[in-house]
């Protein structure tokens, strides 16, 4: 049933990447509990605009939980308190009247803050550029059904492929590690027969690029898994480590 609530927001405001930034307090009134978190910020921004103030900058696009564009820390949790939920799919019915909500950008050495809640996640693209693909040019593929893949393998690969690249895993990790992101991609491709020929080269290149970009390492905190909006399991990190070790022991690629 729809009802309305009043909230106090403490939002990180930062003019640009050089600015020091700080929290500012806003009051958000008569918020319908059917609203999404981003719609709640829309309402605050409409008011700020009418008052002649600069609205809060935040990334968002599809607003249906799949593009990976949105995401902030909400009360210290990446994408907020609900399990398996992107910020755009977090609804206000999960908050109570009178709550204070702290909203901050993703914080990681590899993610520069652009403005307010907006960060630069191009480092994730660079990791994919290092090897997150199967090298196949358009045109030469055999009939799709010549490659048999068991349902189980396909499903497992899918569990990794479900990653939306939002960066919540990095933001949630105390070491700002991107290993869940990389583990998901390495798993997706290494599990499939099409991805096997390049598996060794891929895992080495992606891990190297991760280190170069100043992402931290995994120390099994499992915070990434807890905050991942697609509930990608840390077994993918285990698989990443296995693939990486295997590549060191058994291959001539260094």
């Amino acid at each position: 049933m729809t009802k309305t609530i009043n909230l106090k927001l403490k939002v990180w405001r930062q003019k640009d990447s050089d600015d020091k930034g700080g929290f500012k307090t806003y009051y958000s009134r008569d918020i319908s509990t059917d609203m999404s978190f981003l719609e709640m910020i829309d309402v605050v921004n409409e008011q700020l605009t009418l008052n002649g103030e600069d609205p809060i900058a935040f990334d968002h696009d599809c607003r249906e939980g799949i593009c990976g564009m949105c995401g902030t820390m909400v009360n210290g949790r990446a994408h907020g308190p609900e399990k398996g939920t992107t910020l755009c799919q977090l609804h206000m019915r999960h908050f109570s009247d009178g709550d204070t909500i702290v909203v901050e950008p993703w914080r990681a050495k590899a993610f520069n803050i652009i403005k307010d809640l907006v960060v630069d996640r191009s480092a994730l693209d660079k990791i994919i550029q290092a090897g997150g693909y199967i090298s196949v040019n358009t045109g030469g593929a055999p009939d799709a059904n010549t490659i048999l893949i068991s349902r189980e393998t396909s499903e497992k690969a899918f569990d990794g492929a479900a990653c939306i690249g939002c960066g919540a895993c990095v933001a949630a990790c105390p070491n700002a590690s991107a290993m869940l992101f990389i583990g998901a991609k390495v798993s997706h491709l290494a599990l499939l027969p099409q991805g096997k020929p390049e598996a060794v080269r891929r895992v080495i290149a992606m891990v190297r690029e991760m280190d170069r970009l100043c992402f931290g390492n995994c120390t099994n905190e499992a915070e990434c898994e807890a905050d991942c909006p697609k509930e990608i399991s840390i077994t993918n990190i285990a698989r990443l480590n296995r693939e990486f070790l295997k590549s060191g022991f058994f291959s001539s690629t260094k």
């Binding site: 593009c67 564009m69 398996g84 693209d125 196949v136």
Partner: protein, 637 residues
């Protein structure tokens, strides 16, 4: 100007083969001499950029998100069609072609649609080679399901995230070419202007969305893969930044706009629930495979759905269309839902919803099987509405979803501006007056992977292109235009926000240029939009400055363009004095209230030429010639 679609001669099934042979080629050694700009990194843009780079061209790829992987193709849920006939149920290229052209209510080109059906099979092969985890049977073969407008199972799918998986595939291919140095990537850039020199598209002006800097880029050809304009309605299933700006700029620089009034309204979306609402969420059409759509038999029946016995339920699609049942095409399903609600039989708080019920499917197949097929969709529904669809029927209502209209292109996907191409939803070419489910992904990828890589060669091989840099005065003039528009938006300092104008524009169009239209309503909407446009340019408030990360300014530019574009949609809707597919003009309907075409007078593509601000656009007609299918009244009964 006489429109020439450049459709090759010969019999239908051989046209594309023959055309590929006749197309001019650029030798591998010469390809690196050509620079190509691609705007948009959805399925069409990413696949085109990657494939052109693989061939050896220099590509600059632009997107307005922070990463190319976020383009809105990612949100497509249900699947992608292909004529593989893996299900052994009598499918063929010809059947996919026929279903698509019939589904489009005979307002698309035979040759284009046939080519699309042919290429559908190559797409699946390529995507599997890329590692897309399509659904599989226990034996390890690919699985298929059925979709609206078809009586065969030809839809390949990857859970309810087919668009995401296909896009990540195309994005990975693109990233591979970025690493190879053949694609230069420009993210967080918005195209502000097209630069045309000596009648040829030679570059673009972009805004760096982080710094606000205006940048210029010269090239030998420009490809627009910027998606559709459904957001003109404010509420749609499109992403928040989906816009008409790039194709509207192209239109104003001489590219004709085809069938702008052809808007697809998708039958299965989560209903509107409040004025603050920012977007609508689609529930995949695949749900109609197992869900049954119904309303209470009697109007204003306030009982909860479980308390309404079978005898008091009206399964209106199954009753009216026994052959296709709940799987009638989208336009038919949407109009029928609206009709039920107009009769007062709608459900939910607003009365603007119908039930989509899985009770029987769960009884038949078990909860686990249903969850395997639709688990993530059910979860998404519950997240948004707070209701559990395993226990309470979903409530759904139609919403704006896709635009069949777009820039007019010939068989080579080139617009009326030489050197300017349009791919995917940004062009008009393949879906006629209504798109069938699981066909958008197919078209975007066909255009990008398998058509433009060949046809752009013909343009380069047959065109004299002198070297031009962005120092050319035409770039300076374009930058000036952009700056003056931006300055104007920032200087108004009025009292109404951009969203407020956008919301009003959307409600006018939804009311008068939505699921059903009539002449009086359209004329009224035209006046209302004109007034709104005037008020916008006097009273909009856009905070912040130009050289900054300024999301309000971005939005203001897009909404200014939507306000201009809304008029073009209405001009087109007024000119098409028939009903066809999604365009339902109340004055033209059969006795059974179905769309009644007028093939004698309207079997054509309406292509509009910009004639100046405040002046009616010029009408051009491309007659549609059907040599292989008989034009029939669509019947799904």
């Amino acid at each position: 100007m006489q429109l020439d679609a450049k459709i090759p001669g010969g019999i239908l099934a051989e046209k594309w083969d023959r055309h590929r042979f006749e197309l001019g080629l650029v030798s591998p050694a010469n390809r690196k001499k050509f620079d190509i700009i691609v705007i948009g990194t959805g399925l069409a843009g990413s696949s085109a950029s990657a494939t052109l780079a693989e061939l050896g061209y220099n590509v600059k790829a632009f997107c307005l998100q922070d990463s190319p992987r976020r383009a809105h193709s990612i949100a497509a849920q249900g699947g992608i069609n292909a004529a593989k006939n893996y299900a052994n149920d009598g499918d063929s290229i010809w059947r996919l072609f026929y279903d698509t052209i019939k589904g489009g209510d005979f307002r698309s080109r035979e040759a284009n649609v046939y080519r699309l059906a042919q290429l559908s099979n190559n797409i699946i092969d390529h995507c599997v080679a890329q590692g897309i985890p399509f659904a599989r049977d226990y034996g390890g073969l690919l699985a298929n399901r059925s979709f609206g407008g078809a009586q065969v199972s030809r839809t390949f799918y990857a859970r309810g995230q087919t668009g995401q998986q296909l896009l990540v595939g195309a994005y990975s291919a693109l990233m591979r070419q970025v690493a190879a140095g053949k694609v230069t990537l420009f993210s967080r850039r918005e195209m502000m202007e097209l630069v045309v020199i000596n009648g040829q598209a030679r570059g673009i002006v972009t805004r760096n969305m982080i710094t606000g800097e205006i940048e210029t880029h010269a090239a030998d050809a420009v490809i627009l893969a910027t998606g559709g304009y459904g957001n003109v309605f404010f509420l749609s299933t499109n992403a928040m930044t989906s816009n008409v700006t790039a194709i509207l700029r192209a239109y104003k620089k001489g590219a004709f706009f085809a069938n702008p009034c052809f808007i697809q309204i998708h039958p299965t979306c989560i209903p509107v629930h409040g004025t603050y609402q920012s977007k609508l969420t689609l529930m995949s059409e695949s749900l109609r495979n197992d869900g049954r759509i119904w309303v209470p038999r009697n109007s204003v029946d306030t009982r909860s759905p479980h308390q309404i016995p079978g005898s008091d339920r009206d399964y209106f699609l199954e009753n009216k269309y026994p052959a296709f049942g709940n799987l009638v095409p989208r336009d038919v399903a949407s109009r029928n839902a609206k009709e039920q609600c107009d009769m007062g039989k709608g459900v939910g708080e607003t009365g603007l919803a119908v039930y989509l019920d899985f009770e029987d499917a769960i009884k038949r197949d078990g909860k686990e099987e249903i969850s395997k097929k639709y688990g993530n969709l059910f979860q998404m529904y519950e997240k948004i509405t707070g209701d559990n669809p395993y226990e309470i029927p979903m409530r759904i209502y139609p919403a704006v979803h896709y635009t069949m209209g777009g820039l007019w292109v010939d068989y080579n996907l080139m617009t009326t501006v030489p050197g300017l191409f349009a791919l995917g939803e940004a062009n008009f070419s393949d879906h006629g007056a209504n798109r069938l489910g699981a066909s958008a992904l197919m078209q975007g990828l066909a255009d990008g992977y398998f058509i433009i890589p060949y046809t752009i060669g013909e343009y380069f091989a047959g065109t004299g292109l002198n070297k031009i840099t962005d120092k050319h005065p035409a770039f300076r003039a374009a930058v000036q235009e952009v700056n003056s528009r931006t300055n104007k938006l920032l200087s108004i300092k009025g009292t109404r926000t951009v969203d407020d104008f956008h919301r009003e524009l959307g409600s006018v169009l939804w009311e008068y240029c939505g699921m059903s239209r009539n002449e009086n309503g359209l004329l009224k909407a035209q006046k209302l939009i004109q007034q709104l446009r005037e008020e916008f340019w006097k009273n909009v408030i856009v905070p912040g400055s130009e050289r900054d990360f300024n999301q309000s300014l971005e939005k203001a530019g897009r909404v200014a363009d939507f306000l201009e574009f809304g008029d073009l949609m209405i001009v087109d809707a007024l000119a098409r004095k028939e009903s066809c597919g999604c365009h339902f003009n109340e004055a033209y309907q059969t006795e059974e209230n179905e769309a009644k075409r007028d093939d004698e007078n309207f079997c054509h593509v309406a292509a509009w030429e910009y004639a100046g601000d405040g002046i009616n656009p010029l009408f051009h007609k491309e007659k549609l010639i059907f040599e292989n299918v008989e034009l029939t009244q669509r019947s799904y009964r």
